[in-house]
């Protein structure tokens, strides 16, 4: 246990936070609430997984929240116009992939720094989606909510989705050539190039995957919400980055894991928000508590893993 906690500081914090909240309210540790936390972490977990791919290449994607919005808006328009849910889902996938790939192309082919590229696409995407939706909320048909609140073998669909994504991403990163190559590229792109790896294509794929997962994360959120409002996805990039880094993913590339890393990070963040509601905390305290938890987690992490370069 001690070893686990020193290896994954987020785990220790998660245990601490949960212990604290369970003292605050007996309802906190009940199974339905734990299920709630899992469901509520689903979207963030998927976003943070996508972000991990990009962070591994020593990049960053600030356009995640914006991409969520764009793909949800496109698919939402389709559904509102009478399109079927599977068609809408296909739109989500394609829009996410294209959006992410555009980021990737700008980063790899145009030689612009990821921070600036994705900052720009953050603006562009949000503007585009606002134009699409005429800055109105899209209220989607109930059939979508039915999907979002359905259970597969007793497990809520969003949890199934995030589990599939986490396991899939974990296997991709740990057990496929593509995944191992991403680690190589992130740690030392020059050496990776000399070793004959297609560095640009790898980085591009990471951004495309991040876009895809941003869109999927958005879809999971929309399936629970039943609506897309103009603030949809706003500032989610910061949450995604925080969750990934809390889980031990390095901002400097080449280090980090989806399981258990990102999972822990997303759970930690969502648990804090959940617990604060359960104990009926003063709304004004939320940001301060969350910030303090993130701060401590990052502090522990940078000490466990040595300093950043």
């Amino acid at each position: 246990m001690t070893r686990l906690v020193t290896r994954w500081p987020a785990l220790g914090l998660l245990v601490l936070v949960m212990a604290g909240f369970s003292l605050g309210s007996p309802r906190f540790l009940e199974v339905p609430n734990l299920v709630n936390i899992a469901v509520q972490s689903a979207s963030l977990g998927i976003l943070a997984t996508g972000m991990t791919f990009v962070l591994l290449t020593a990049g960053i994607d600030l356009s995640v929240g914006s991409l969520m919005f764009v793909s949800a808006a496109l698919a939402g328009k389709l559904v509102v116009g009478g399109g079927s849910l599977p068609a809408a889902f296909a739109v989500v996938v394609v829009a996410g992939l294209i959006g992410g790939a555009l980021n990737g192309i700008a980063v790899t082919r145009l030689g612009i720094k990821p921070f600036v590229v994705t900052l720009s696409t953050l603006y562009i995407g949000r503007g585009f989606a606002l134009w699409l939706t005429e800055t109105r909320a899209l209220n989607l048909p109930d059939s979508l909510l039915t999907v979002g609140s359905a259970r597969l073998a007793g497990i809520p669909v969003p949890v199934v989705a995030v589990a599939l994504v986490l396991v899939g991403a974990h296997l991709t990163l740990e057990r496929t050539a593509f995944g191992r190559h991403l680690y190589a590229v992130g740690a030392d792109p020059e050496a990776a190039r000399r070793a004959g790896l297609p560095v640009r294509r790898l980085i591009l794929s990471a951004y495309a995957l991040c876009g895809l997962l941003a869109a999927l994360g958005g879809a999971v959120a929309v399936a629970q919400l039943g609506a897309v409002s103009p603030t949809f996805g706003r500032d989610r990039e910061f949450a995604a980055i925080s969750a990934a880094v809390l889980g031990g993913v390095s901002l400097f590339g080449g280090r980090g894991s989806v399981l258990p890393g990102v999972l822990l990070g997303a759970l930690l963040m969502q648990t804090v928000e959940n617990g604060l509601v359960i104990v009926n905390a003063d709304p004004y305290l939320y940001p301060m508590v969350l910030a303090a938890v993130i701060f401590v987690a990052v502090l522990l992490d940078s000490h466990v893993r040595g300093t950043h370069p």
Binding site: R136, L225, V277, P283
Partner: protein, 339 residues
């Protein structure tokens, strides 16, 4: 706080009577109007800007728009930009009553008439016309109606409120209005959960779900804006607690704004009440006030949109003034999506 507002309105009235005739008369027909909104993030504002646009169109005027995205400084820059551009009038949704004063003063200095839409300024020497709805009063009235429902149910309800962005004055006024209503309703309602949403549907959904977990017997939910109703519906449905009024286990629901979703939910019997601001009245009054100002006519400094609480009892008579209802009916007629 509220005393301030009242004093402000008085002071402004005094000034306005003296001063609102200042701008030089010119052809009031065509002209360019700068419309600066603090935000478009809830549907209410979109409905408002659309209403203003069609009102201006109808009068042959050109509209320039600017959205400050919650940043008062940016808004100040936008107003100054309008003035530099030489607009004939400005309609402004300020971020709050205090930071708007330098903007109004800038317009005064340039002799450009300015109308504040939906939010009143604090007392100052700056001259403007404000077309306002009293968020606090409407929210209080809504809360009072919900309270009666709870009383009528015969049991003491546990209540949750979805609070908007804590940096947004409307959110604060609505929270406070609801709070005042609840203060007088302790026999029937106990507020057990205050959920910050930052005007974000995801946070609202998670918050309601969590509140339902903490208090499975939650019996009343008030949202500071109707655009978060889908989140409430989703959470209630998942918990198996989404029932029409009158059914066993119905959770009393109240909202604010009067948007399309609220209208549908009212019609279907799920929503008990929502506080409505009369967007069409406010838009028309604002544009009219601008024209009057330009013509040199006298305009009272505050034009009040009384607003109202719509509920199943009065729906038939007042829904014509509920913008959500009109938007929904128009959408149905025009076959256009978006609702």
């Amino acid at each position: 706080m509220r005393k301030h507002a009242a004093r402000g309105i008085l002071a402004a009235t005094a000034f306005a009577v003296v001063s609102c005739s200042a701008p030089a008369p010119e052809d009031p027909g065509a002209g360019t109007i700068g419309v600066a909104f603090e935000t478009l993030q809830t549907e209410f504002w979109v409905a408002a800007i659309d209403a203003i646009r069609s009102e201006l169109d109808a009068r042959g005027m050109t509209m320039l728009e600017a959205i400050a995205d919650g940043d008062a400084n940016k808004q100040l820059e936008q107003v100054r930009g309008f003035i530099a551009r030489g607009v004939d009038g400005i309609i402004l949704v300020p971020r709050d009553g205090k930071s708007v004063i330098p903007m109004v003063r800038a317009a005064n200095d340039a002799g450009v008439p300015i109308v504040l839409f939906n939010r009143p300024p604090d007392p100052s020497s700056a001259r403007s016309v404000a077309v306002v709805a009293d968020n606090l009063a409407i929210a209080r009235a809504t809360g009072e109606f919900l309270c009666e429902q709870a009383r009528a149910s015969g049991e003491r309800k546990k209540a949750a409120i979805l609070v908007g962005d804590l940096g947004d004055q409307n959110a604060i006024h609505r929270r406070d209005g609801f709070g005042e209503a609840m203060a007088g309703c302790e026999d029937a309602v106990e507020v057990v959960s205050r959920i910050p949403t930052e005007w974000n549907q995801e946070k609202a959904l998670a918050g309601v779900t969590n509140a339902l977990q903490a208090h499975p017997d939650l019996g009343l939910i008030f949202t500071s804006s109707d655009f978060m109703l889908p989140s409430i519906v989703s959470a209630l449905r998942t918990a198996g607690k989404y029932h029409e009024a009158g059914e066993e286990g119905h959770v009393i629901l109240g909202g604010f704004d009067g948007d399309v979703t609220a209208w549908r939910m009212l019609a279907d019997g799920y929503l008990d009440a929502t506080g409505v601001q009369d967007v069409f009245f406010e838009s028309e009054a604002s544009v009219q006030a601008l024209e009057d100002l330009r013509r040199g006519a006298e305009v009272p400094p505050v034009i009040l949109d009384e607003g109202f609480v719509i509920h199943s009892g009065n729906m038939e008579e007042v829904q014509g003034r509920m913008w959500g209802a009109r938007v929904a009916q128009r959408a149905t007629r025009g076959g256009r999506g978006g609702a």
